[in-house]
């Protein structure tokens, strides 16, 4: 299920620990050099600032490219048509993220993260437009529009599981916050539903974790 092999991630963890340990004085520099040479890792990483800038420019390119597609090839399309194309772009974006990981071996590089984030965004916008037409966002207990945040939550959880992005889990939690608004108008009931969903997720996580200890 993981996009990265266990050995690669273990090697990466080892390199991180070695770096921490030499920084904290638990290892001497010659020891570190020798040990580091033996933990070769094929994954490409970069530092946090370049990662952020790469993320930003990938978002700009993808957003502009999709908008350009609509401007050039579709003049005044129906909302459903826009939605279907957004779903196609979500799929393309996801495949590009997978390729960035499998072919280019990118690991927390910004580019694959932006592609994955765009795929979740396009998926939600696409479902909203394709299934619910041009209706503006208005949470009401009558609609099936909870499918939009539900799809966002599921896709985010998949990104978290597949690529290991920690913030994808947070995104899933935020998507879940929106869901009860489509089921009930009472704020207390909404809070109760969110709390129940979070509690259920916590119990599941604790159970699964205890089995793997």
């Amino acid at each position: 299920m993981r996009a990265y092999s266990a050995s690669s991630e273990e090697a990466l963890r080892t390199r991180n620990l070695l770096k921490d340990w030499v920084g904290e004085g638990f290892l001497a520099e010659p020891q570190y050099q020798r040990m580091e040479q033996e933990t070769v890792c094929e994954l490409r990483r970069t530092n946090i600032f370049l990662r952020l800038v790469l993320f930003l420019f990938t978002l700009i390119i993808e957003g502009a490219a999709v908008a350009l597609f609509f401007v050039v090839f579709l003049s005044r399309p129906a909302v459903q048509t826009t939605g279907i194309f957004l779903l196609i772009f979500a799929a393309i974006s996801y495949v590009a993220a997978e390729l960035a990981v499998s072919r280019a071996h990118l690991y927390r590089y910004g580019i694959e993260e932006a592609l994955a984030a765009c795929s979740v965004g396009f998926l939600c916008a696409g479902i909203q437009a394709a299934l619910f037409g041009g209706r503006s966002y208005s949470p009401s207990p009558s609609g099936a529009e909870f499918l939009v945040p539900a799809a966002g939550a599921i896709a985010s959880l998949w990104m978290w599981r597949r690529f290991g992005f920690p913030y994808a889990f947070l995104a899933a939690m935020i998507f879940i916050l929106w869901m009860p608004g489509y089921w009930t108008l009472t704020h207390s009931a909404q809070h109760l539903i969110v709390a129940s969903l979070y509690a259920a997720a916590l119990i599941t996580a604790v159970t699964v974790r205890s089995r793997h200890r």
Binding site: L17, M35, T46, N47, F49, L50, V53, I61
Partner: protein, 314 residues
Amino acid sequence: MTILTRLEQWKERGIISSEQHAHLAGLSRREPFSLALELNVLLYAGVLAFVAGLGWTISTWSQQLGDVLVLTLLSAMLAACFWYCFSRAPAWSPAEAPSPSLVFDYVIYFGSLIWSVELAYLENRFHLLSGQWDLYLLATAGLFFFLAYRFDNRFVLSLALSSLAGWFGLTISHWPSHQDAAYRQYAILYSLVVGVAGALLQHFGLKRHLFGTYLNIAANVLFWALLSGVFQREGYLVWLLALLGACGGSLVWGLSRRQFSFVAYAAIYGYVGFSSILIRDMHSETAVLSYFVVTGVAMLVLLVLIARRFGREA
């Protein structure tokens, strides 16, 4: 191969000693489990939330509570914070000094914020300096600089530099004909003053590690000031050249010192400034979007090359 297996092998081959093996194996099993990051985030958020809540409570209930109670409460908290810090702090050293405890840095930060709240309350209620907020800001900046250097605290240094920036801004607002151009020039002056002061303090060996804070704040203020000049409809060319020069300097500094935040500043501020000029007269959506696709790809390629050449993580 797991880290524990590797450690075992390194021990057998004599690369690490048995003591090192036992210690590192424990660490890799997360024994003890570190909560340092979580505790620091909670402390920082807690201090900010508490001070925000305190400010809100005082502004809402000051009439009912009365000046004496509010000022006594604030002064007591301030005195407690300063007493804690001065009694626990190690002797001053010009070098980087480790914090005596986990909460120490947050107590001094909390005290500094309480000082600001108390000062704001005093001026609002009693108008001690007849609304001359710039004097308050200058005095506060001075106090915060002292605290930052006495207790080796980056948070308080950021507050000091922000107060100084506020003083610059308020001083200009008192002038009869303050305009955007004046603000821009003084923002540039501020960034130069902060940058030079940081460089001098580093040169004289006073808390050299704080230089990064000066440089980051100076760079951001400078870039914002230059960008505001680039955004003008007329006379923007000089500002664009200055922006490109600053971006070049930031890029060289970032790459040579391996401080990649400066590479990020050069990329983002440079792109925003350059793009604002190029697309301001484009009226076609297709042209604008094509511009972003083409230049975005060019920037991405350039940044990937930089990342592969300079910014590779071990």
